[in-house]
Amino acid sequence: MRHLMNPLDFTTTELEQLFDLAADIERNPAKYAHACAGKILATCFYEPSTRTRLSFESAMTRLGGSVIGFSDAASSSASKGESVSDTIRVISCYADICAMRHPKEGAPMVASEKSTIPVINAGDGGHQHPTQTLTDLLTIRSLKGEIKNFTIGLCGDLKFGRTVHSLINALVRYEGIRFIFISPEELRIPDYITDMLKEMDIPYEEVMNLENVMPNLDFLYMTRVQKERFFNEEDYIRLKDFYILDKAKMALAKDNMLVLHPLPRVNEISVEVDEDPRAAYFKQAQYGVYVRMALILTLLNINI
């Protein structure tokens, strides 16, 4: 039985198979409409995350399966002091697959060790969020045709943003990827990532100015500065609007450059950019459903 804890749990070959399946689902949704009939997905969300939970629920529903679950710890038995190990043992009796989000890092891994059904890590604290990374990779592959030979700019909170760290770790396994890290000094990419890139001889640069690098980018991955990561309100207020992508900046970019964002966005992408054909962040949310559908089928060993 297989689980998904970390985006690197799958080899690049396995990811290709997963993305091929997601592409087939996109082309032929009707073919998969009953693929999970009689199967139940449990969404165990110990902290609120409407977007990810609904994406999982949409994925299972589109596969013809059913969904049970809870959407915050207060409405689960965790509020009575039940351990994750005990909860998953019980959930294993109720469902065929489980997507778990938990504020404590490693909680889904604990669940996977005790579970008799596949467990998907749907986000564990600031640690991993593998289905977001799979979504990002599928979006890149679907819109560019392949995952290789491009320059990606990652902009905003590169210090605390787990989606950024996870995406970099996943992208370094592909050929010809160049990174440009765009952030204020306080939110620079951690050293362990730049050390890894140096060791692997992967080109990267760190800059503060977004305008200057816009013409060089094939992808721009914008991130939100998250209030909950700051101890100091003043720092948050000073940094939250450091980068705002608008029409003027988009005018500097290549015609085929694509803008990605894990969403939700706040101010970092002006709504005027939404109509630009290069704005791919809402398509990204659609790919999030396809990749979760493909993942559920893969982990349940269902072949159509």
């Binding site: 404590k104 890092e105 909680a107």
Partner: protein, 146 residues
């Protein structure tokens, strides 16, 4: 000069940093073994100036070499049979250690989940970096433990 007699069968842990033998005694759980143990503190050493030595009269299999290697892999392990050194064991950093150190990350599931073992994996043998199995937080106080 204090003299401690030879042991017939067992092992001698030599070149322990001065003052650290009691900590090793605890980590190796030697208190649970029903055998003779000599703890020698602050012995003269050409290599270290001062050193500690542990002499334990029991079968070598009863010693957890992984924990010892994690705590300090520069310690010399002499295996004694019939009163003579028959082998010097090289210590290698263990790939995994369980319940020797604790994860200090307050966001880690080990901080709330009862009876969950604290497991660390060797993530970088060159830099001697261990990471928590669950949250991947780096454990950077290895040397302070020994």
């Amino acid at each position: 000069m204090l003299n401690v007699g030879k042991i017939e069968e067992g092992f001698v842990l030599d070149h322990i940093k001065a003052g650290k033998s009691l900590s090793l005694y605890e980590h190796l759980q030697l208190d649970k073994l029903d055998c003779t143990v000599a703890i020698i503190k602050n012995a003269k050493s050409n290599k270290l100036g001062k050193k500690d030595i542990l002499k334990v009269e029991c079968d070598i299999d009863k010693l957890d070499l992984d924990i010892l290697a994690f705590l300090d892999h520069s310690i010399t392990v002499n295996v004694i049979k019939n009163g003579e050194i028959v082998e010097k064991k090289d210590l290698e950093l263990p790939k995994m250690i369980k319940n020797v150190i604790k994860c200090h990350n307050p966001r880690c599931i080990t901080s709330i989940e009862q009876e969950l073992p604290h497991i660390f994996y060797l993530a970088d043998p060159v830099k001697e970096v261990y990471r928590c199995k669950y949250c991947e937080e780096k454990y950077s106080e290895r040397r302070k433990q020994s």
